[in-house]
Amino acid sequence: MKKLYFIFFIAIICSCKDQKSANHALKAEGKKVNIENAEGFSIEKFEGYSILKVKTPWPEAEKPLTYLLADENAEIPENIEYDEKIQVPVESIVVTSTTHIPALEALNEESSLVGFPGLNYVSSTKTRKLISEGKIAELGQNENLNTEVLINTNPDLVVGFAINGANKALVTVKKTGIPVIYNGDWTEQSPLGKAEWIKFFGALFGKEKKAAEIFNTIKKDYLKAREVAATSTNRPTVITGSMFKDQWYMPYGNSWQAQFFKDANANYLYSETKGNGSLSLSFESVLNKAEDADFWISSGQFTSYEQLLDQSPHYQQFKAVRDKNVYSVSLSKGETGGILFYELGPQRPDLVLKDLISIFHPKLLENYEPVFYKPLQ
């Protein structure tokens, strides 16, 4: 038995050693870019090039994706392994999620955008203007990109995302020689982590410094708002999500949305739950637990109390509905009907948090005009 233990011990030692030596193969002279909150990517800068690693391009991804961002005429050491090489700074780009648009705008790069799937979902004004001028091509939809149109726009780079594994259409694009990289901002769980993905775009456009400045400002404002919220002695109870048929879909307590409630100093009634996706609860259990909740931050499509009660008269049983304390993101829409929150919210957690603080603790942020969350009419 002792022998066995010994062999086992030796085996463990050896396996650790193996991993170490593998890491040594990379040239160890890079400078790690400071990433404070995001878990999903890292950037390491070398002379004339940098290595961008996307750790979780999609949930349960088996291995990280490595991208080589090289300056023109840069000398690249031969032993570097990468999934895709991109010449930076990128001059024309295709992105596939509305969450990528605010980062482009913040970096003043919206004019680099040459194509997007589902133009109607875009709400940001600068980009909308370019769309109405016909400068951005419609590429269909993310799961079903119009490959021909995409190839025709001939971008330097396509920034895609995938729900699970590589997106078929993007694989086709890659074969034509247009580099494709995957952005994993949506797998990020923390509010500041999502916002930090602006550094990912900063690296592509050679605007690392600007991206860092933008992020630092957002972070500073976010933390300041959190401190302000913490001064309130009152901690209102809150629920979110909405019902479809008789099932109430409610984000888990470890989700991105739930963290905002915590930081806004509110008591989210489902904060103890853990998981991916969202809870699907029976109506009666939500009523039993949350009929007296002070606020309901809804994700439903309704914009007025009339519509809400038309969807389900059961909603009348909730105190938040009776006291007219229901707030929704569905009232802030872009001119073509896209909901602003889904586009700008991940990039501007400071605004999301201030919105919520102004709702939960109106005295703390006087004269603040909410950006995303508006009271139902």
């Binding site: 939809q141 809870l279 029976s282 109506f283 499509q301 038309d310 389900s312």
Partner: protein
């Protein structure tokens, strides 16, 4: 004569079972409510917590009513179709009604991505699904009736129903192909069926259609019995085959169409309950079969809903998953045990 008495006893037993399963269904759910309080709520007496009373009277009671209506309605339509087509595989949806409904609903959920955003605006009304689903079913119904007037052979209607199902499924798949995930999800969830989102007004409307369908079915009992002997024989008995066929199709459409509009395409019950009942009550006389199937459908649906609610847990399951999970093994077990297939 001896058999008659047995059958009447069986029917009485089934009816009592409906009442008990209904009580059982109402007293169980995600929230644990003591039986005493359940009965107090139903009798309008004082209840400890107002929420409890609300849950019982405005959520569980309409849900139980919906379960009774859908279970019995679908079971009867299944029986009508099996007899009309003399085919043990027929169910309430063989005419293509649910396919028509699914097309209407798919247009509501996913039409926006193909026809522009004005489509999405309709979706905000709670009645939009019911109306879309009914229109879809009606469209298919008219087509089937047109065909049935022209056709001598009943079997051809079966094929036409199948063709409609394929057609609509194809259109739905095109819509789905162009839809964002969230809309697709809503459509998929609709297809799982749901008993719990009907208020009293909807239950009222649904029960009017149900009553009409059930009454026509009861009125057709004599004709159904003559159909069992084959169309030629039925004709020689003086049955008007076309009129008869028309009435049976109308009854089925009223039942299956309205149920699909309000509760979605509830699976399995319509096909299985007539077989379950035939195995338990070996009669081919529709005078016994029709009421027995009505009670049997109600009992099975109530039981399925009780299980789907997963009493005591906050989560609940879609009803369509449960109907087959519970129903299929029972049918298999009965057939294997009896070794004889009554049809």
């Amino acid at each position: 004569m001896l058999n008659q008495r047995k059958y009447i006893l069986a029917l009485i037993f089934l009816f009592i079972a409906v009442v008990f399963t209904a009580l059982f269904n109402i007293s169980l759910g995600s929230v644990s409510i003591p039986l005493k309080e359940v009965i107090a709520s139903l009798l309008g007496m004082h209840v400890e917590k107002d929420t409890w009373r609300y849950i019982i009277l405005n959520y569980r009671l309409p849900k139980a009513m919906t379960a009774v209506i859908t279970g019995s309605g679908l079971a009867v339509s299944g029986l009508l179709m099996q007899t009309l087509f003399r085919n043990p595989l027929a169910g309430p949806y063989v005419l293509g009604l649910s396919s028509g409904a699914s097309l209407g609903v798919a247009l509501v959920f996913m039409g926006a991505s193909v026809f522009g955003a004005s489509f999405a605006a309709i979706f905000l009304s709670s009645w939009s699904l019911v109306i879309a689903s009914s229109l879809g079913s009606l469209l298919v119904l008219f087509a089937v009736i047109l065909a049935s007037v022209r056709l001598r052979d009943t079997m051809a209607i079966l094929i036409i129903g199948l063709m409609f199902a394929s057609l609509t499924a194809a259109i739905v798949s095109v819509l789905a192909y162009f839809s964002p995930a969230s809309n697709l999800q809503q459509y998929v969830f609709w297809s799982y069926g749901s008993l719990g989102n009907l208020g009293w007004s909807e239950v009222g409307i649904l029960s009017i259609f149900w009553l009409a369908g059930i009454l026509i079915s009861i009125g057709s009992i004599k004709n159904l019995n003559s159909l069992l002997l084959g169309e030629q024989y039925a004709r020689s008995l003086g049955t008007n085959i076309r009129k008869n066929r028309f009435l049976i199709i109308i009854a089925t459409s009223l039942l299956a169409g309205s149920i699909t509009a309000f509760a979605g395409p509830i699976a399995f019950i319509g096909l299985a309950v007539p077989h379950l009942i035939r195995q338990v009550i070996p009669s081919s006389n529709h005078i016994t079969l029709v009421p027995a199937v009505i009670f049997g459908g109600a009992i099975l649906m109530l039981l399925c809903d009780t299980v789907a609610q997963l009493p005591g847990s906050e989560v609940s399951l879609p009803i369509n998953a449960i109907t087959s999970i519970i129903g299929a093994p029972v049918v298999i077990w009965l057939l294997v045990r009896k070794r004889r297939f009554n049809f």
